[in-house]
Subunit: 241 residues, 2 copies
């Protein structure tokens, strides 16, 4: 049995009961080293296979091999395992090659939800997720999505907003959105949401400081109705108050 | 203290530890009656204020009054409290009127994530949430979002897809998307995700059966790369396998 476990943003209190149970039931834990560290308290003295960044295929291969040999494996993924996480790759491998492994996807809380709760309630109206990583997606596809999201006034959550080798992507994204965005539109920035080092900033589209952002940061750009009051970023649903 | 608690899709095993702790700590529970029922096991003999559908403002008012009078209140919201949930309305009321209440938003797992895990891994690439309820949003705004989401090839999750008084909205949404969608595009339908009566169907854009859908259903329309194999709906991230 292979559990692909979304552990949530990091803190154990944002993990679900189902995720915790899967980790406790597993014979062996597999994951990227930062994430295996986050669940250390649950793992006890079980064997843990840690792999480095960008080793996703090797990690999945190892998890599938151990599960096929009869072990119960928990492959852990931060946030939700099904959103830019390990569930997709595992199911691709299982559906395209002949593995004989039972897979159960265990969902978790994705970063946008955790970040939203830290900022107030910015995701109360239609929103989208866009990853700014062009390692696996052509930049033109990403550009198109950024533009239409702004044009149709979606609240927009940027995943993987900035990292070495693509320092300029978030700034480019803001330039693409700028014809449709009032400079006063609120922007929320949350670093390490739900973890010990959590930090947040609320600014505006026009005053955005790209230097605050790194790979562990989520950026939420509001819609036309989003406002900030008492330090809270709120997107109204439309009730008449 | 007022906790606005996202209880997840329904089953206790998809609830977070933080949500459970807030319900256990509260003196009184407030919520829509279906949702208070879902957490009955945690509530014990605490007082529960249940309100009916479309009574959101009254429900929030009651929760704020009790919190202001010194009680610890858990206002429960299904899924994530910050996604079409109660957090937005509470924070609007707190920021626009002079309540003296400390509010803590407790996030939860939203329906799209739970439904995604039931179907496979359909949300592995950029996606958006669109609510088809035009009670609080002009239909023209919703239409625009539907069209651009299809045009820019977002995976699209439809919330509130169909209910009395708007039986035709989902069909209209599909008509608006059809110039951009291959009829073979996979569509996942999940009713009551994460609850005892959970049911799912995987079909195609061209063969969609709108009669399967009601208000407790989430509909996920895939992107150009989404495929179905072994009964699993998978949107590839883009790895070369």
């Amino acid at each position: 049995m292979l559990y692909v476990v979304g552990i949530g943003p990091g803190g154990l209190d944002m993990m679900t009961y189902q995720a915790r149970a899967a980790i406790e039931e597993a014979d062996v834990i597999v994951g990227y080293k930062t994430y295996t560290h986050l669940v250390k308290a649950l793992v006890g003295d079980k064997p843990v296979l840690k792999t480095g960044m960008c080793k996703e295929i090797e990690r999945c291969q190892a998890a599938l091999e151990m599960a096929q040999s009869g072990k119960t494996v928990a492959l852990i993924s931060s946030g939700d395992s099904g959103i830019y996480g390990m569930a997709g790759l595992i199911l691709e491998m299982v559906t395209k090659h002949s593995w004989h492994v039972e897979v159960k996807v265990i969902p978790g809380m994705t970063a946008s939800i955790a970040a939203g709760s830290v900022l107030g309630a910015p995701l109360m109206h239609d929103f989208c997720h866009i990853s700014l990583s062009d390692l696996l997606t052509p930049w033109e596809v990403i550009e198109k999505r950024i533009i239409v999201a702004a044009e149709a006034d979606f609240v927009t959550c940027f995943y993987n907003p900035r990292s070495r080798g693509r320092e300029g992507h978030l700034k480019q994204a803001f330039e693409l959105m700028s014809p449709y965005k009032d400079p006063q539109t609120p922007v929320g920035i949350v670093k390490e949401a739900g973890r010990r080092k959590e930090a947040k900033w609320i600014t505006t589209f026009g005053d955005m400081d790209f230097e605050l952002v790194d790979m562990r940061t989520l950026v939420i750009v509001g819609n036309q109705s989003t406002y900030v009051e008492q330090g809270l970023m709120v997107t109204p649903r439309g009730y008449q108050l």
